[in-house]
Subunit: 407 residues, 2 copies
């Protein structure tokens, strides 16, 4: 997996817009809990376990074996920066990892959201200060960072962040206030959200103030799966267990995203909020591939018939929503999906590189470039040509423009 450019700075921005962090405040929150999601620290001092899925919290398994070990890559920013350097990523837009803050008691939501978002802002601010100092040093020493020389670890690299929302707050105004506050923070560039919304999915009309707030502040929403599909969809617990994480992660996650955004579409969210911008994880789940079938099923649904239908159907074509409201990450692991994503998005300008770090590390533990990242890089180079304008746009240019990452 060693590639020629390992550890070298590219001469153009490479931006990772899909990269997760559990900041210390979030880890502390999870440590304070005893029900999913929570972190369990065994009294014997063996590694703590992160248990974020109900299915992981199986009472027949000892607690010290449930879920997964709390990996230092989840929270250690220096490891994020090493990862960026190893893969020549100049800028990362970090986001809180799932399950975000949906589970919080209503009265705690605002407090934790603010605290975690402030943590994210501080992490970015600190790194920007370091990078600024490092750049000014290399400028005064005459070093040329554009020729691909290896740079010192942890320096030069930029961080921005997507904030988290207090979705369980008792009043949507609390959520809207946090959206407004986030828009005033220097390094926050949007918000990340799961598919449950206020608990009833993203077609819930009670979310309208949230969509309005995002639209008004021009805040990008990064929509990301967490729950997958019920195990019954895959043939039951035993079948899922047989193949490890493959069925829930490979198929459940993308379908969860597709269902969530399709429900928004069917409920007319994009008709009511035509300037709402959403970044869909994993190249839209399956949305680019299934958009035609969705459009056809809508056109053949008697409920939506203008005359005689008893429910208002979506007015905007799903293809137009893809071109006007939706951005897709390029975390799709192959040229077939990537080309379909670009084709569905209507332009190479709406697809953005990402890694899903710290997930999908190499299983052999070797300290080389990650197969998961290399696969996505190769798909971009293969589909559009290495160093082509299109590849550079997907790798970073689009993110810089859309998220205003120069400042």
């Amino acid at each position: 997996m060693r590639e020629a450019n390992q550890g070298q700075m590219p001469t153009y921005p490479i931006v990772d817009i899909h990269t997760h962090v559990y900041p210390d405040s979030y880890l502390n929150l999870l440590r304070s809990r005893t029900t999913v999601p929570y972190i369990y620290g065994p009294p014997d001092g063996s590694p703590a376990r992160l248990i974020i899925l109900s299915s992981d919290d199986n009472p027949s398994i000892p607690k010290e074996q449930r879920g997964r070990p709390v990996d230092s890559t989840y929270s250690d920013i220096s490891l994020k920066l090493s990862f960026m350097r190893k893969h020549s990523i100049t800028t990362s837009v970090i986001s809180l990892a799932n399950p975000w803050l949906d589970f919080l008691p209503a009265q705690d939501a605002s407090h934790w959201a603010e605290r975690i978002n402030n943590d994210l802002e501080s992490i970015c601010a600190e790194q920007h200060a370091k990078a600024k100092a490092s750049r000014s040093n290399s400028a005064s020493s005459g070093a040329n960072t554009s020729t691909g020389e290896t740079l010192p670890l942890n320096e030069y690299y930029s961080l921005f962040a997507f904030g988290a929302l207090p979705l369980s707050a008792p009043d949507p105004n609390v959520i809207v206030n946090e959206i407004s506050r986030l828009a005033s923070l220097k390094f926050i560039r949007g918000v990340i959200m799961g598919t449950s919304g206020l608990g009833n999915g993203l077609d819930d009309p009670a979310l309208d103030p949230v969509w309005a707030g995002l639209e008004r502040t021009q805040t990008l929403l990064f929509l990301h799966p967490h729950y997958g599909l019920p195990n019954d969809a895959f043939g039951g617990d035993e079948t899922v267990e047989r193949y490890g994480h493959v069925l829930p992660l490979a198929l459940g996650f993308p379908l969860e995203t597709t269902i969530a955004v399709t429900r928004m579409y069917l409920a007319g969210v994009f008709d009511r909020f035509p300037k709402l911008g959403i970044l869909l994880a994993h190249s839209g789940g399956t949305l680019p591939f299934l958009a035609g079938r969705i459009e056809s099923c809508v056109a053949h649904e008697r409920k939506f018939l203008a005359n005689g239908g008893n429910v208002a159907g979506p007015r905007t074509s799903i293809w137009d929503v893809l071109k006007q409201n939706i951005f897709l990450d390029a975390v799709i692991y192959g040229e077939v999906g990537l080309k379909a994503a670009v084709h569905g998005a209507g332009s190479v300008d709406r697809v953005l590189f990402g890694t899903d770090h710290p997930f999908f590390p190499p299983l052999d533990g070797k300290d080389e470039q990650w197969l998961s990242v290399v696969t996505n890089r190769r798909a971009i180079d293969g589909a559009f040509g290495a160093e082509s304008d299109a590849a550079k746009a997907i790798l970073g240019g689009n993110a810089v423009r859309i998220l205003n990452l120069e400042s």
Copy 2:
């Protein structure tokens, strides 16, 4: 929706490989039943109802309103032929509509499969005899059928069929015997199957004799969804109900297919039966788009690690399975999906035109070309150019070659 070529014969074969029929024997079988799937004939003589999904058999709804009316397009071959003529389809490979024969008591399976398959064979044989007579008449009268003149209804058009299997038979040998018998019938060109197999999904090792039988007789398996996903996947019954059939049909069906074939793949079916050929409905569900993610999740699944993994993972790449074992229909309603299907299949030679008739008729009831069919035709013409070699291959050439439709 009126297109210039309505009612004219094309100068090259246009083959519909995804087109369903409920032959009289199947309707009689359904009429003889009182549990799903069944046909209910109200005693007052009002139209009979077809109730094929458990969710349709809602006890709080009067029986005469459950499911859908038994539409004559489901069984009337002259209506199938009119539909073909209207859309310039020269040949249809008809298949029994869902839910096929999975529900039969074990002792009845063989009897009904044989009876229904013989019905399908007779329907095709009868039409071939008519077409042969018609062609010989027009030859002797000097008419030129290649210049696009309008032909008499019900003549000229060819029918072949996919048979159904007695999957609930008490002994896999009964299924294998029917596969062998079908291979000897003149107009049968494969078998259609749902995703439940013998009741435990298509990764069930008990299906190995069936895969072996299909491989040995070089019988194509048309894999088609029926059950969709549990309503919980979509947010529950109320959410599904709100949008009519859109969520189950647009998203549930394609995911069901994807899950079924992914389970086959993960269980090593294509490693054990490398010559098994499968035609996937709806362009593979979402398989072409998600193949990269499936491949990546397999590569990162600790269970499948060659050293230290406790379960054998699939040996063949999913991309190779797409190129070696899988054919895709072109029922995807848009250029984005169609191009991804062709790209995923590795070649335009493995993608085949279909209509899904008699489903998705025009809601306005007007007797013009169907939007659902025109959308798929336009996607082919748009992606590859009308009358291009690639378009002709997808529209019919591939089916003629793969299914040997000349005889």
